[in-house]
Symmetry: C2
Subunit: 426 residues, 2 copies
Amino acid sequence: MEVELKELLNDLQSLKKSLSDPSHLALIDKMHLHAENIAILENSGPTRRSKVKDMSAEVVDSNPYSRLMALQRMGIVENYERIREFSVAIVGIGGVGSVAAEMLTRCGIGRLLLYDYDKVELANMNRLFFRPEQVGMTKTDAAVQTLSEINPDVVLESYTLNITTVEGFDTFMSSLTNKSFRPTKSGSGVDLVLSCVDNYEARMVVNQACNELNQTWMESGVSEDAVSGHIQLLIPGESACFACVPPLVVASGIDERTLKREGVCAASLPTTMGVVAGLLVQNTLKYLLKFGQVSPYLGYNALKDYFPTMEMKPNTQCSNAACLERQKEYILAKPTRDAAAKAKADKEALSAPEYPVHADNEWNISVLDDNEVDGAVSRHSGVLAEGIVHELPVADEYPKPAITETDGPADDLEELRRQLEALNAD
Amino acid sequence: MEVELKELLNDLQSLKKSLSDPSHLALIDKMHLHAENIAILENSGPTRRSKVKDMSAEVVDSNPYSRLMALQRMGIVENYERIREFSVAIVGIGGVGSVAAEMLTRCGIGRLLLYDYDKVELANMNRLFFRPEQVGMTKTDAAVQTLSEINPDVVLESYTLNITTVEGFDTFMSSLTNKSFRPTKSGSGVDLVLSCVDNYEARMVVNQACNELNQTWMESGVSEDAVSGHIQLLIPGESACFACVPPLVVASGIDERTLKREGVCAASLPTTMGVVAGLLVQNTLKYLLKFGQVSPYLGYNALKDYFPTMEMKPNTQCSNAACLERQKEYILAKPTRDAAAKAKADKEALSAPEYPVHADNEWNISVLDDNEVDGAVSRHSGVLAEGIVHELPVADEYPKPAITETDGPADDLEELRRQLEALNAD
């Protein structure tokens, strides 16, 4: 439309030059004004939300953050506004990733890094987020378009690339380590990586990157038959990495590597993907803003409305070298962790008030203690909860990884663990 | 912009009449063409998805239903296309209702009836669905705008009204009983009512309408502190109605009637609302398309990722007269139900194949039997699952409802139930 308008304005100028009658000139000036108004209207577009400098808790209809800041007043979150400091990377902007991105955007996350190489298709319209008018756009471009309209306060970075290629992996790694958003942050440049990809290879690549960077991440997945899914928290060295334990899918015996088989169209539902995205971002908020219990693993079986949980310890025989390094570091740091935990407990015991903190709590809400053990759902370490099956052969059935170092890292780790356990057995 | 364009075209006409030089006239014709092109571009708008006559299972990127029809090939749903016959009414187009509407629209539901009287505000932007450019529109208008763009195949009816007013209730009732969409349907004009309102009064009105119409419905709710929610299935006469049992909120002691207190801004999160909407629509799909287990009640405690379930029987002392009528009908129909169930079981036993149905099942998926008892989560009748508290005083603490009929319906029902139990105790 811009081209047509420019042509029209040029023609008006030419005509004006060749005419001298004042009434003609007045008419041309009038037309010029109309054309300029059209240009203004064209560029104004739909009403846009302006940026907000500080998150206000003021209860007015025009405040986009009032219902979020209310979490503080209700005693759920101590400092909600901290969310603006955090960077979250989302790998895969499909049925789960796009909804996760929208949720974090509406929550006012500081910065989102989005990775995908795919384009929007009409076949994606059975999930939330993308609109038919975006068909043909890259998923990253379409996501940036929608998300920036929803909340211009969020810093969006999009990467249209495939992380499983050599070049893509390099860009992925450098984007994760870039600290320009918050130079004072320790570790990598992001606070959390969310894996929302649909295949085994891409998950292994995210796992490799996070193990190398010592970056905590969450994995998510939805089964090929659309009626089950899961989320999982992975802390390098502390919990099982994606290579430690074969991937799990609730109530499904499908090898995820078959997900993109030739001619096979996996089923999907906006419900299952919406629930998994909701659970994933809820866990993300709990992790970042430090409230409630962060789930190490949460499954969702839609046919039975069954939600198994469990914890998985790292595998000292893991085939991933970076994982073994992180395990070693985690074990070596145990005495420091124990001392810090003891100091914290001592301090809390000294300063604990004799009366309930919220005696005048008109909401009658009690904040749950993070250490409170969930009595309803048992959490096992390494043992599979009912309804969960291994999707790939268990570790024992894998060929032994080739050990290249002189002192095998596995034996080394086992020995280290034994020594530490002996030291701490007082 | 239309006005400006019209003025411009008029001015061009006037100028043309007063000029005679052929070069001037040619220039004016050229400008006219530009202006017309601007008008065409202005009216074309974004690309729209065209309507689809039949749901195809064809695996092509341009098929918006391929991933849904795949549910049939994977053995999850017997006949997915039946979804086009169903009408679902959604009362309340807020944080849960709007997302539920979008999910059903993307699933290709036949017809949606939407009820709300509120307008979109910036303060709603922390939940999914509405966009800042829709601020000031009624929620019903904004929803119809978005949903019709997403899937033009869905028949949308919107009602901008408050169902708790006398006039609003009348329109609500007549819209539910209108059978023009599927004249052959028995009962009311809709297959399911979803209550996604945020206050007690509106829930009681939906309850009244559904009891009067013998209409199955599902209730949903999110707590004022944003970290818990629930869904509940209500079948008049068969399960507890909303007046039978005081409303339940997981891990919260808040009276829902306080939800819209003056000056109080309830907290809300897109995660909790997205999960509740997802569980609600998943239960809706299971109910309508007959797969998996339809949950009678499902709670969601976000702080602990705890999901209690239970069943609630109707209260023979219920204060709602229409509920008591439905209870009576349900008890009287028991012999017919039992006979039908026995005939079905006999038929199945006769035709049961000796070999597994899906011996060549390459997906390795087994369809769960509807009658299979969930071993993982115990379902109690009337007993509250751990973590669930009554939100309002239990029924015993209520003043006894005034009984207007000569033979008290409560005693009548109890007697009827006793007689039937004696008859069926063989």
